[in-house]
């Protein structure tokens, strides 16, 4: 394994990177088909990660149940049983009534509930954080309120100027800052790519030197 880690893993990212980058920049016909194969590999690996996720999940929660881990094993049972039930239903017939029922009436409801809770936490956070303790905070507060009223039809009813100022804030007002942040994110991604191809980024195959 250490030979694979030290040699093969070191050169695979370099080769893949070279082919994909060359395909992007250079008009070389034969490179296109090789790049295609590599892209398909990437998609297959993503799909394998789903299966890996399932195995890891079952293993870890199964261990929790086996060891009766305090405060958690009951929920692990629920996780495993739910997983197995929905999995079996999906295998039998992914378009069947039972599977669809589980999706519609359990998964959908729970997902929407958790996402909806975000609204409460945003208001709670805003009530605590949107305080005009200094001039910067006051400006942030005023801008925030204007944008809030821009998004809601009642804003235009209260004052016709809200959408005008709000659209400016969402457009030319924040674009320069946002573009800078996007540029920086791009630089960061390039650095990451460099670290991967030079073998400095070992996180994705388990760490270690």
């Amino acid at each position: 394994m250490s030979f694979i880690k030290s040699t093969a893993f070191k050169y695979i990212p370099v080769i893949v990177f070279a082919v994909i980058i060359a395909d992007y920049f250079f008009a070389i016909a034969s490179l296109g088909s090789v790049a295609e194969i590599l892209r398909q590999f990437a998609v297959v690996i993503s799909n394998i990660a789903l299966g890996l996720g399932v195995i890891s999940l079952l293993r870890i929660h199964g261990k929790n149940v086996q060891r009766r881990l305090e405060g958690r094993w009951q929920y692990s049972i629920v996780t495993v049983v739910t997983f197995v039930t929905v999995f079996v239903l999906g295998i039998i017939n992914a378009n069947g009534d039972q599977y669809t029922w589980a999706f519609n009436h359990v998964y959908t409801t729970l997902q929407q509930t958790m996402y909806a809770s975000t609204g409460f936490f945003i208001v709670s956070s805003a009530y605590r954080a949107f305080r005009a303790r200094n001039i910067d905070a006051a400006l942030l507060l005023i801008a925030g309120c204007i944008v809030v009223f821009t998004n809601a039809p009642i804003g235009e009813v209260i004052w016709s100027g809200f959408p005008v100022i709000g659209d400016w804030l969402l457009g030319p007002g924040q674009l320069p800052g946002y573009r800078v942040l996007m540029l920086i994110a791009g630089f960061g991604t390039i650095v990451y790519a460099y670290r991967v191809i030079t073998g400095n980024e070992r996180g994705f195959f388990g760490g270690g030197e």
Binding site: I21, Y24, F25, F26, A27, I28, I45, S46, A49, L52, G53, S56, L57, I60, H61, L69, G71, R72, T79, F83, L110, Q111, M114, Y115, S117, T118, F121, I122, S124, S125, A126, R128, A129, F130, Y178, L181, M182, L183, I184, A185, F187, G188, T189, I190, V191, Y192, Y194, R195, T198, N200, E201, G203, F204, G206, G207, G208
Partner: protein
């Protein structure tokens, strides 16, 4: 023309960046020191652990969602795990329980190894337990599990560092409700305002990578960060030149960059 149209300058800039990264890495290896500026969030890690030690409470860590193999989230999750290593070292030294919640299944071996190594370096490998690392099925489940854990275990501090999506609002507010000290960091642009408003310290955008580089300390991590300063200055210069030339109707810069 072997280079595709419209990609010549991009090619030059990309490989020019790589050359710069290589040069700066070599300079560090040859002894030149580049100091990453003090990052308040990173400096706050021992303070967070100290708070937990005083109060006898655990510290929570969430390295973000997504997959470490993904282009959009992988780099940030791995950066979060690098910082986790330092936090784990502080926690091991202070005898503070470190609880980790993650949905990143493919990074689990790395997370376990990172924390175990940190404990081993402090000579406390027997205090490490896999049970303190919780793997949760998905994002929404993570939210409900984390909120419940925060309410029951009442951590004195929490770190949300990695690739964060809508859960950043919920998790940070859950920590605020119990008065926990919170350190966050993400590259996800539209989550940064929430984190800045809700947490005590935030690593914004590239600071996350810089923090990971500062923690790892190796030339391959610090060199590119230092080289990026040069790239940023060059970018700034191009922008200023563009701002000057555009009103004059001179388009050579736009045409040049479009080659």
């Amino acid at each position: 023309m072997i280079l595709k149209e419209g990609r010549i300058v991009a090619f030059v800039l990309l490989f020019g960046s790589f050359v710069l990264y290589y040069m700066f890495t070599k300079m560090i290896q040859q002894g030149k020191a580049f100091k990453i500026r003090t990052l308040a969030a990173l400096e706050a890690l021992p303070e967070a652990v100290g708070r937990c030690a005083e109060m006898g409470k655990p510290i929570f860590y969430m390295p973000g969602i997504g997959s470490s193999l993904s282009l959009s989230s992988g780099a940030y999750i791995l950066a979060g795990i690098t910082i986790l290593g330092r936090l784990a070292g502080f926690a091991a030294k202070a005898g503070v329980k470190l609880r980790l919640f993650t949905v990143t299944i493919d990074a689990m071996p790395l997370i376990q190894e990172t924390i175990k190594n940190a404990y081993a370096i402090e000579g406390k490998v027997e205090e490490y337990s896999d049970d303190d690392i919780e793997l949760i099925a998905n994002q929404s489940s993570l939210v409900s599990r984390y909120i419940g854990a925060v309410q029951r275990e009442q951590p004195a501090a929490a770190c949300l560092i990695g690739y964060l999506a809508y859960e950043s609002v919920v998790l940070s507010e859950a920590g605020n409700i119990i008065g926990a000290m919170q350190i966050s960091g993400t590259v996800n642009l539209y989550q940064i305002p929430f984190l800045v408003a809700s947490t005590d310290y935030t690593l914004i955008m590239e600071e996350l990578f810089a923090a990971a580089a500062a923690v790892s300390g190796d030339a391959g991590a610090v060199g590119p960060i230092a080289a990026e300063d040069v790239i940023k200055f060059v970018s700034l210069g191009i922008m200023i030149l563009g701002i000057v030339l555009a009103p004059l109707g001179i388009t050579f810069l736009v045409d040049l960059l479009g080659l």
